[in-house]
């Protein structure tokens, strides 16, 4: 997977991005360059450091999840990608072009044709029907009803809302409204999809549904998705590449499996301490590529299976060993002992947020 990442084209490059909120953001930049932190800048200069030196590559066809607690700057960051917010300094390159150099017309073209967005609060137009909402991107481009009707119906069908074309958003439940939001983004047919806490406002069950739907659609469409979330379970489920933000800077970014196995600092350790590791860790990240199985091989498993699935296959027998195979090729072996070792919880770090909170 990690080698994969190097071979993929970079769709969006974020380089040295800074955002400072306040009356004189440019003047504050040198303080930030000199190493001043978020709280210090607030105290001494009454400016809010929104983003500090962000560098992220978003690969084509990946789901890149940016996660962090509220106030970590994740929503600010995603709004820089289509310039709903302009940065104080830095570059955002989409397909190699710096979109900060774009004039109004180019920017509009970018928003209409190359990027679509799904919002936390759905942000549907309440006075338009579901069909008209779904076709928003198409109508904005100037297509007539006859042109967009089929397209809208197709996407509504795809997200499981066929037949509600004539209804108004307020007649739908939250989950259904967000399906319209998703259909609206998909109907624009843009290669990049920005999702700002798209599922955070939904009930847990519906949220899981929507996540599955997104993964299913992604399988088929391979969009470049930038997904914002504050929910680690969601982030781990969806992410090909996970960026963890805190106070406006990137704490760690990597493949989710690696973040779980090699957390960079106490903050991350705290973050991952109460995650269900068995459900998130996959065979490929804990298997041994070399060597032979210790006991006899009890079965074969795929590299993308989660440890939970392996445990259920083993029936709880810790002496089992499995052969990891893909397309008939042997990739490695996995002993249940390795599984157990990977499942040892990291626990809350001694100096981290959680221990302080409980003290």
């Amino acid at each position: 997977m990690r080698n994969d990442r190097d071979s993929k084209t970079t769709k969006i490059e974020i380089r040295h991005l800074y955002k400072i909120f306040g009356p004189h953001p440019e003047a504050m930049l040198e303080h930030v360059h000199a190493g001043m932190g978020k709280s210090e800048l607030m105290e001494t200069h009454q400016h809010v450091l929104g983003l500090s030196d962000i560098n992220v590559d978003v690969k084509e066809g990946d789901i890149t999840v940016m996660m962090g607690l509220s106030g970590s700057g994740k929503s600010t960051l995603i709004r820089h990608l289509n310039r709903l917010i302009d940065p104080t300094a830095g570059e955002v390159r989409v397909d190699g072009e710096n979109i900060l150099d774009y004039d109004e017309r180019q920017l509009r073209h970018l928003r209409r044709n190359r990027m679509s967005m799904v919002f936390q609060n759905f942000a549907l137009l309440p006075h338009r029907t579901v069909r008209e909402n779904t076709a928003l991107a198409l109508t904005v481009r100037g297509e007539s009803r006859a042109d967009y009707e089929q397209e809208a119906a197709r996407w509504l069908d795809r997200v499981g809302l066929g037949g509600s074309e004539e209804q108004y958003p307020h007649q739908l439940s939250g989950g259904m409204q967000q399906r319209v939001g998703l259909a609206r983004a998909l109907a624009s047919n843009a290669p990049i999809m920005l999702m700002d806490e798209a599922f955070s406002a939904l009930d847990p069950l519906i949220r899981t549904d929507m996540q599955d739907l997104l993964l299913e659609l992604q399988e088929e469409l391979s969009k470049t998705v930038v997904f914002i979330s504050h929910d680690l379970d969601e982030a781990l489920k969806l992410a090909d590449h996970l960026v963890i933000l805190k106070d406006g800077y990137v704490v760690q970014q990597d493949e989710p499996q690696r973040i779980l196995l090699e957390p960079a600092d106490d903050y991350i350790v705290d973050f991952i301490s109460d995650i269900n590791r068995a459900r998130v860790l996959r065979v490929r990240s804990v298997m041994r590529a070399e060597g032979e199985a210790r006991g006899g091989v009890t079965g074969e498993i795929g590299p993308e299976e989660t440890l939970e699935e392996v445990i259920s296959k083993s029936g709880g027998d810790t002496s089992c060993s499995f052969l990891v195979q893909q397309d008939g090729r042997k990739l490695g072996v996995l002993d249940m002992n390795d599984v157990m070792r990977a499942l040892v919880p990291t626990g809350a770090s001694e100096h981290g947020l959680r221990s302080r909170a409980s003290a």
Partner: protein
């Protein structure tokens, strides 16, 4: 001698004031004091110290202007520019006269059996309510039965024209205000003034500017008074549109025009309609005052009631205005409710 003589003498302005500081008695009290043999030289009693107003200073120094000269100056200034102002304003406002004349002519020269069903049809179209339709029919037929039909229709015609023009100008002004804080800050004091200035005060400069027989005279007075709510509520309505929805519109690359007509105005419509309702109510309030300057309609009867102490005439006409107000209010509110029904967030 007057109280503030010392002020001018210490400033060395006696020359400018004229040598005869207080020697020529100008006011009645001065004369009275003189006849009583008082010289005015007695020490000034601190309790009776007058405020150094323009008139008090004029006592001490005749060259200093009296306060009456301020209002007089305003009057003369206005009279001086009035002719040039009329040259500009007359042609601009002439269409208003035409519109009012045409509306009054139209509504009075169309037979009642066309006008009444037409009004009822409008009621039905905007409200879709049988109850309201019956109520409106009862009111109009009742007014017609007691021979107030012509007066009521004249009032209605004036209100329709004025309210239409208020919307025509008020909505764009409100949109402008919602887009620019500078414009909002500049416009709000004017709106405040228009709303609080006693309605009669509008009439004074208008009477100077236009001939009293012209319909635009009262048209302008009504419009100035009634345009405020529609401006305010348009501004407010557009500013209150859900920021998330605007953000979505931006994110999908809407132009400003697409955003305005596709999102902001439709979503502000309930507020704009509330403004239109208020505007209609306020034009109705002004229509009686406008009768002072030749506006026809029920207001004329009210004035006749006051002038000739014809109690019955005044009361019935007043009641007629109330009925019109209730009709207009209910009909606009019913259409507002229908808009709201499709606008639930």
């Amino acid at each position: 001698m007057a109280t503030y003589d010392w002020l001018f003498s210490t400033l060395g302005l006696e020359q400018w004031c004229g040598a005869s500081g207080g020697s020529a008695p100008t006011s009645l009290s001065d004369l009275a004091a003189q006849s009583r043999g008082e010289t005015g030289e007695q020490a000034v009693d601190i309790w009776e110290l007058p405020f150094p107003s323009m008139d008090a200073l004029n006592d001490a120094c005749p060259a200093f202007p009296q306060s009456r000269e301020l209002t007089l100056g305003l009057e003369e200034g206005f009279l001086d520019i009035k002719d040039t102002l009329s040259v500009v304003l007359d042609p601009i406002t002439q269409p208003l006269s035409w519109a009012l004349d045409a509306a009054l002519y139209g509504i009075l020269n169309t037979p009642w059996w066309i006008v009444i069903p037409l009004l009822l049809a409008i009621t039905w179209a905007v409200s879709r309510s049988w109850g309201l339709l019956a109520f409106v029919a009862a009111c109009i037929l009742g007014l017609a039965f007691i021979d107030h039909y012509d007066y009521a229709m004249q009032t209605l015609a004036i209100i329709f024209v004025c309210a239409f023009i208020c919307v025509l100008f008020g909505v764009p002004i409100g949109i402008g205000m919602s887009r620019s804080d500078t414009m909002q800050n500049a416009t709000i004091p004017i709106l405040d003034m228009l709303q609080t200035l006693p309605p009669f005060v509008y009439l004074i400069p208008l009477i100077f500017l236009f001939s009293v027989t012209e319909p635009k005279l009262y048209g302008i007075a009504i419009i100035l008074y009634a345009i405020v709510p529609v401006i305010r509520l348009t501004n407010l309505g557009i500013r209150m549109v859900d920021k998330n929805v605007i953000e979505a519109a931006d994110a999908f690359g809407m132009t400003d025009r697409q955003k305005l007509f596709g999102v902001q105005i439709p979503l502000a419509l309930p507020n704009i309609m509330a403004g239109v309702n208020q505007t209609i109510m306020m034009s109705l309030a002004m229509v009686v005052i406008a009768s002072l300057v030749s506006a026809p309609g029920l207001g004329v009867l009210v004035l006749r009631g006051i002038r000739n102490l014809e109690l019955g005439v005044g009361l019935v006409a007043g009641l007629g205005i109330v009925l019109l107000a209730v009709i207009l209010d209910r009909v606009t509110k019913a259409s507002l409710a229908r808009i709201n029904a499709t606008h639930k967030a």
